[in-house]
Subunit: 325 residues, 2 copies
């Protein structure tokens, strides 16, 4: 691998950190020790990104890779309503990667981590004869009894979506295309390379008596199906209510909707809330300047999702979207 | 990858688990939620095993790979004095691996996990065009203020070692050798393929007013140097006190000592305790039927480790042992 001295490398990636009081032992011993806050539960998740499967070197610079590997995990914490606090990174490094590129990966992570006052507390670096593999574990905390479970949806609920969807897939499309004139859409490229997890939105939602949420990692269709299945309800989405940016609409409405439904990696939140909480929720989202849109409704059912368009209704399926196909 | 239906696969690997009350949300949502016990700190560590670097298919069956990937992490928790409680598994799967082999990996983990009443609470499965990569995160708990830090060693302390060392490297040597007659040493093969982390030993040690510990993942030399460096002391080890099994001595004393010093993956504990606690410690280890040996002493110094042999003293260095070299 491109690291000459692992000890020196770990020093470089961890020396600038502010260490909070809740870290009893940080990086450097066999394991880290952290002190949970009183009456808070621990939230924990883990996601892997593989070169050639989840990203290519042509579409993602090292600091994008680091940012996104951490962002996708923070997004999972956000989808539960939690506050991200700590992270661990395991990285399997091919000999073709240079130390500076690896430092840039960690730099991409720490820039995002700093926004949330998160601390790197462990992990490891190993070599591999194959593609780069980054596995991030994120720990967070949430008030006891407050969780945005997928199984929380009930018939009559509003289905909501934060921000816009489809932008990340459009950004990837531009990066993979030979048509370089589309590179002017820097917002779409940023949505793909430097996605923003919706922690604030999750924190507002967890304040409600009941809400469900999923983060958009696999596209609106897949996430809605997961909530419908876990809650044993049906979900009906109005196609024209799905929030799309002007930029992706410039590629045509048909393409834009496909990206929204099946593209994924937008890391917005999709979920359900009771209609009686909607006005209050709008107020709180407005106060934080976060966009939230009512895109459909929950009805009785058995885990199916339908898309309404001009009176026609089609059932959505968990179609796999092949990023590099 | 060899998994037809990820949902079905996750069901297969998690359906037989006993779920303790401290798991508020297990596998199946964006993240897991667990409730920390009162006055306990959280211990967390993460280790990656890469095919071709940490194991080969010729030397490790799938259930060995699973067992060892989890064991190496439990061993890190043990070396802090903690109790392992939960684990998350990320696995990057080449298309050449069959679903049954992958299930065997998880089975190797869950057999070991059951011994410690540990619960699988998350992770992910992704595909890779390259070798198999398994990353395990283990969470545990430890009484507040009780940690076997590497920096806890003081001049005058006894240096101890649990069990025997060198067996794992000997087992690997046998597995890689054409001389199949040595395969009769099943104990050595087991020490390599199915290592036992020393959780009980760690729990006894954390009861002392002060102790340091490292688990033997990289060999006695490397682990002793880490303790000496972190504590800013020197360590002097008596070569003839290092506990070696009769089986590895049958390969010659010189080879056996090299395996002990530089082989690693024995997952025994090496550490230091005050001499005034030694007799009590021996009693408690005897009660639990765990072997512990006084192999040297801590002296004033600056992070160096020496090996005494018949009046000669040589300094030990962090020599990298190339498993498949």
């Amino acid at each position: 691998m491109g690291i000459k001295d692992e000890f020196d490398f770990i020093n470089k990636i961890s020396s600038n950190q502010q260490i909070p009081k809740s870290v009893i032992e940080g990086i450097g011993d066999d394991a880290a020790i952290i002190r949970p806050h009183h009456k808070m539960d621990t939230v924990v998740c883990k996601d892997t990104m593989v070169e050639g499967v989840h990203f290519k070197r042509e579409t993602m610079k090292p600091h994008h890779i680091g940012h996104k590997a951490l962002a996708s995990n923070i997004s999972d914490i956000a989808a539960m309503g939690g506050i991200p606090t700590f992270y661990l990174v395991s990285i399997a490094i091919p000999s073709t990667w240079q130390e500076q590129e690896l430092l840039d990966i960690y730099c991409g992570m720490s820039e995002l981590a700093n926004q949330y006052e998160m601390t790197l507390i462990g992990g490891d670096t190993v070599s591999i004869e194959g593609p780069l593999v980054v596995t991030v574990t994120v720990l967070g905390e949430i008030e006891q009894g407050k969780v945005l479970k997928r199984s929380n949806a009930k018939p009559g609920d509003f289905v909501f979506l934060t921000g816009n969807v489809g932008d990340s897939a459009a950004g990837l499309h531009i990066l993979l295309s030979d048509n370089t004139s589309n590179r002017k859409h820097t917002n779409l490229l940023n949505r793909h390379q430097l996605p923003s997890p919706q922690v604030k939105a999750g924190r507002i939602l967890k304040g409600l008596p009941r809400a469900s949420a999923n983060d958009i990692s696999d596209g609106v269709a897949s996430e809605a199906i997961e909530i419908a299945t876990a809650s044993q309800v049906n979900i009906v989405i109005d196609e024209y209510a799905i929030p799309l940016s002007e930029e992706i609409l410039s590629f045509g409405r048909k393409e834009a909707i496909q990206w929204a439904l099946y593209g994924g990696e937008d890391y917005e939140l999709l979920g359900t809330v009771s209609p009686e909480n909607w006005d209050q929720l709008l107020l709180e989202f407005n106060k934080e300047n976060i966009r939230i849109t009512h895109i459909g409704n929950v009805v009785r059912g058995t885990g199916r999702v339908f898309l309404n368009n001009n009176g026609e209704s089609i059932e959505l399926k968990k179609a796999g979207y092949n990023h590099f196909g």
